[in-house]
Symmetry: C2
């Protein structure tokens, strides 16, 4: 399988740069003291639509041929990818068709509708989502944009790591959470292209540890009954993302639910920023493996900040 | 009464610069669209101890004579000023004596103790706080650092506006909330020293509108039974801060509790940052006076981010 390279992430960045926020990198003396290492948090929770997903979606939309632009884009998602694709399409004058499960949170339905996307509701099963999406594509001719298992999406997500390395020098390790693997594989593509000495380490909830199992065994393992507050990480890897992860990622660490909750609260309380549970998973991994990271300079990509303020896990 | 001038804030900045965070200025396209103007939020919620108060406290500590340094500093406070003075003293090798009401939240007692301050608890009345502080000063010889009504504190707080004007060009208006008036009078001192054409506008909860009454009548009015979620704004002006505000502030706007709650939630949800209710008061004033601010470029100082996550107002 042909894998994207450094140059492809750089090209994606040139393409999307005018459309994305260059998000800040924040750190906290307090958390550094607790963790025993130097942590640099890349704040993709401040990205448009509140998540790094806007990068990949924008790169996918900007990579369309003129003919495909006229047909529009389509996906199924109840989360950040739906909002990201809807806004990326809107900002580029392209029609977006989003299939959403009818039990998706009202606030997400509203956000996607607010970005002018055409929403088709379906039963909340993967089968219904996929068949409804197939129908929509059949009718409209729209181009499918996968939430992670797609070349342009992977390269777009990798631009977060590109900016991070521009913003912070001499990182020993870069960490991301892993769900479908788009951010992780894009980051690894860029980082290993720049320097083989920077470690790329993912973190995953123990209660949704399919990527860890796949990585350790070398054989794809689907996620089975994930039960984690890190609701953005309940998806399985794709064949493209798994191939990149196998080749370019140094390690995957699994963390407890209590660890995720503690790390999330620590970032809220000490850094005064709002992150979703998935974003807290790498810090949880650092705190549960302090000896491993001791004295290092570690970059962590905070993936998003979309939480229901009426339903916090603490 | 001699009032501080531009130069005094600039001197304070030279003094405290190595000790404070240069906090970022964030903005949100989303909120700009809702407000109908361009808003630039100066994030003092990211300041050390989570509040702008660290600026004034640091300037006060760094302005001590050698003899006074040896005696230490003292104040009474249950809030951000206590933590700010404790940390500013600690970071400069000076002893801090803090009088706290015995009903102060556990988390604030712990923070102040964690910064190595000597805490004396007293009954939760202003009288008990003042008499206990007098005793502490009598015994220790420590130098009182007032939370707002003091030259060095006012000049230190004014450095937030100084940074804001360095970070954003061509502001029409700068807004702060007003409680005791330290931040407002420091900001006005700096801004009017730079340019008389930049408006300085304060915002205050209608349910604690003593500064508005004092400003409009020209006669000092103490706060009476304040009842607002903006708990940092329940104090009266001091004679120094009132004199500066009378001379240099363009207007004070009052806002409803519902407006504060709405503005706070808007900043949390759209900007993904944690602010305390007091910080939301200026945005509430903009939203309740859209016509007045229409098309302007407005700087807003977000004062702090210390909230009890278990007890949110939404």
């Amino acid at each position: 399988m042909k894998l994207p390279e450094l140059r492809d992430v750089e090209d994606a960045y040139e393409r999307i740069k005018p459309f994305v926020h260059q998000t800040p990198v924040l750190s906290s003396t307090n958390i550094n003291n607790i963790a025993g290492c130097e942590l640099h948090f890349k704040c993709e929770n401040f990205q448009k639509v509140g998540a790094f997903k806007y990068r990949g979606a924008t790169n996918a939309v900007l990579s369309l041929s003129e003919a495909d632009r006229r047909k529009g884009v389509a996906t199924h998602s109840s989360g950040n990818h739906a909002a990201a694709l809807a806004l990326a399409a809107k900002n580029n004058g392209v029609k977006a068709h989003i299939v959403m499960p009818n039990n998706a949170p009202e606030i997400k339905k509203k956000a996607v509708a607010g970005y002018g996307a055409e929403i088709t509701f379906c039963e909340p099963t993967l089968k219904a989502r996929e068949s409804t999406l197939a129908q929509v594509i059949d009718t409209t001719g729209a181009v499918m944009v996968h939430p992670y298992n797609q070349w342009e999406v992977v390269c777009g997500q990798g631009t977060a790591a590109l900016e991070l390395l521009q913003q912070v020098e001499n990182l020993n390790t870069v960490m991301t959470p892993v769900g479908g693997g788009g951010l992780l594989s894009g980051s690894a593509t860029y980082i290993k292209g720049v320097s083989s000495s920077i470690k790329v380490v993912a973190a995953e909830p123990m209660m949704a540890n399919d990527a860890w199992k796949s990585f350790k065994s070398g054989v794809f393992q689907p996620v089975v009954n994930p039960d984690t507050i890190a609701d953005g990480l309940c998806t399985s890897l794709g064949d493209l993302t798994f191939e990149i992860i196998k080749n370019k990622v140094d390690d995957i660490l699994v963390v407890s639910e209590a660890g995720i909750r503690e790390a999330m609260r620590m970032i809220w309380e000490r850094m005064k920023i709002i992150i979703e549970p998935s974003s807290a998973v790498p810090l949880a991994a650092v705190l549960e493996n302090r000896d491993h990271f001791k004295g290092q300079s570690v970059g962590i990509i905070l993936t998003g900040g979309n939480v229901d303020l009426g339903n916090l896990p603490f």
